[in-house]
Subunit: 323 residues, 2 copies
């Protein structure tokens, strides 16, 4: 072994995924386990260590064979110190996760935001390959963003750039989980859609939603929305198109700010709703961005699914002098 392999770790609220990745960005082995109910730094850290070890064991590798480990965290961080700043329900606020894992494995560990890692994964091995300027939107419960500029993941001074879901597109608009009003996430996420379609379910206009989620918006998953659209429940389709229209406004703002060559759309909603949703978002982006800037941008669905995050996190280890 020449130390060329890297590990990418996706630390999620419900599961931890570790992947051993080759220099060609191929996943060679994986291991997975539940993040666990007790949410404290010690417990989460020991499960991370266990999961990384399991993925290495599948290839009979030892950690010191690695070039390093990239850890994708669902939240904000302080890249230089390796500390986690804000993250939901994991008890990691202020915890020096990077140094603790470096101590455990004796290899360099870098932290990245999970969606940024995913967009970077799409850049090195997925739908954004070959484009030097890329913006990604991952739409699910919330909306996460990632930015690649001049062929490098752009994280800003501490790795926390691209919180695109909390940019405001409708000042004074719908209440967001972050406490602001009119964030992109508050009008375009699956949660935003869910809150509207359960009202349709309650009034009899969305039988598929009513049958499978009742009127509880938390139960409205992307697959249910897809089935409702397929069943011809037009008012649900209209709600989704309106959300796609808003997403396009967020995409247009990214175009006017960064002039990317490629916008990647990913996440559960995009995977389940597919072309009709992506096309609606793209139309809106083209309608709401400056003429001379939108001409050179393309839009594509993410291609790597859940693998994007671990591939991106592992590739970041190889990218020295990140900016």
């Amino acid at each position: 072994m020449d130390g060329a392999h890297t590990v990418g770790l996706d630390l999620g609220g419900t599961k931890i995924l570790s992947a051993v990745v080759s220099p060609e960005n191929k996943i060679l082995a994986r291991a997975k386990q539940a993040t666990g109910a007790e949410s404290n730094a010690k417990a989460v850290t020991s499960r991370i260590i266990e999961t990384v070890r399991k993925s290495l064991e599948k290839l009979n590798l030892d950690a010191r064979d690695l070039q390093g480990i990239g850890v994708a965290v669902p939240g904000t961080l302080e890249r230089e110190s390796g500390r986690v700043l804000e993250t939901p329900n994991l008890g990691l606020e202020g915890y020096p996760l990077g140094p603790v894992l470096e101590e455990a494995f004796s290899v360099p560990v870098i932290l990245a935001n999970d969606v940024s890692a995913g967009v970077y994964g799409e850049y090195v091995a997925g739908a954004a390959q070959g484009y030097q300027h890329v913006v990604g939107f991952f739409v699910g419960t919330g909306i996460g963003g990632g930015i690649v500029l001049n062929g490098r993941l752009f994280g800003g001074p501490q790795g926390n750039a691209a919180e695109l879901g909390h940019t405001i597109v409708q000042y004074g608009g719908a209440l967001c989980s972050c406490g602001q009003r009119g964030c992109l996430e508050s009008v375009a996420s699956r949660t935003a859609i869910a809150k509207e379609v359960v009202a349709l379910a309650g009034s009899g206009a969305a039988p598929t939603i009513l049958a499978r989620a009742g009127t509880d918006y938390k139960l409205v998953k992307s697959g249910i929305l897809r089935d409702s659209v397929r069943a011809g429940e037009d008012r649900v389709t209209q709600v989704i198109e309106r959300a796609a229209d808003y997403l396009g406004v967020g995409m247009a703002n990214a175009v006017n700010t960064l002039t990317p060559q490629m916008i990647i759309l990913g996440g559960g909603l995009v995977e389940k709703l597919g072309d009709f949703y992506i096309q609606a978002a793209e139309r809106s982006m083209r309608a709401h961005s400056m003429r001379s800037l939108r001409e050179s941008v393309q839009v594509a669905a993410a291609g790597l699914g859940d693998d994007a995050v671990v591939i991106g996190a592992s590739a970041l280890v190889r990218e020295s002098g990140r900016g």
Copy 2:
């Protein structure tokens, strides 16, 4: 001469300003003339050439003594070909201004957006010195933006990034000069303020506005707004505070997207209204951005006035491998 000086040229709708600038970003000589009423590429080009020559003559320099010329254009461009794409009233659409000037002077010529050049000027020699990640908003008739990332002017693939005035902060809101609704410019520019205060003038609530601009919003200059505020015309002050609040939303979106360390506010409105306006915008930025991201950002007024654009344009000549 060792070719170390550069020329920065600010091509405006009403005047052309050429400055010879030292490697230490000091202006050594200037020349200025009216852009002229006839708006065609030939006439504008010959006036540019004349103005550059005049500034050089003041130092007994010849163009071939220069390292190059940086031209700041009010519009969009195609950096690699040196073509102007969109620009108001100058007849330069599609015109290869860069190559034509290279031919005339036999030195490298680069084009940049004027506001981007101004923000870069503030970075190399003004209020943003020492910060590697900077976003600037220049507020006047419209709102222009500029972005410095990792110590380099960020222009995207063609030099047209940072059209921050046309990012949408209130979807479906006020009509913008670009045809969209709810652009930052449509709710936060001097024009947006002017349209509201002339209504106050018409109803007797803003005597200073009425006396100096009547009810014609195009006549409401920044100095008149300042004097109205000083005269205690509270409803005018409220209109300005509301615009500053919106500007803060645009600043917050830049914070959430790019996590700059410094936000520079410049332009006529900022110069005339000063601290009360800047502080209102900063408060709004802090109220509308993510907690862990806003803590590390500072806000300052631009420090170089009109010189920022020529200093920035000239400094860009020295920056090789621009991104």
